[in-house]
Symmetry: C2
Subunit: 108 residues, 2 copies
């Protein structure tokens, strides 16, 4: 959290991964099934919340410009993914215990 805003979370991390893979915000939006506007707003939020931009985008040009994840963005992304793994490991026994408490799935 950065004030009322969410600086980074699973959706924004996936968007960073997609931008790193595609070099394009619009193509990333398509892959993740979100609007270009939404992807752009998520990038804007990340860039404003952190000390340095996570995504750098070039506007204009015949291809509409490209976008790339900065070194700083890669650092944040790696850190976030490592934190997700630590959470998964920390609660693995809890999740197993919870699934014992869940109802049986209805047959289809």
């Amino acid at each position: 959290m950065f004030g009322p805003e969410i600086a980074i979370g699973p959706g924004k991390a996936d968007l960073l991964d997609a931008i790193a893979a595609t070099g394009s915000i619009s193509e990333s939006a398509r892959r993740l099934g979100m609007s270009y506007r939404r992807a752009w707003l998520l990038v804007d939020t990340m860039n404003r919340c952190f000390r340095e931009p996570l995504v750098s985008s070039a506007t204009g040009g015949s291809g509409g410009g490209g976008a790339h994840v900065t070194d700083f963005g890669n650092r944040v992304l790696r850190h976030f993914r490592a934190m997700e793994k630590r959470i998964d490991r920390a609660i693995e026994p809890d999740l197993a215990a919870f699934s014992e408490l869940l109802a049986d799935r209805p047959a289809r």
Copy 2:
């Protein structure tokens, strides 16, 4: 997760705490700033997702009936709160590191 549904999460856990404290779904909804309908739906989801009801409610009567958290519900709630604490402890160093990477808060 129970299929596509969220069996328990921070909001549902807070609702269980409120029902335990107030003995009433409608009073709990008021305290948490949600509609009665939403609180009822959250209770219904929990009760359907788990093997046993977490909340038992009595309908009718002049007071409109009451609700209480079952022993099973208390067990799920304690387990959930313990899991939250484990997560907090597991990522405490990450959160400290992340806050170093966040921008300075704008002065008000």
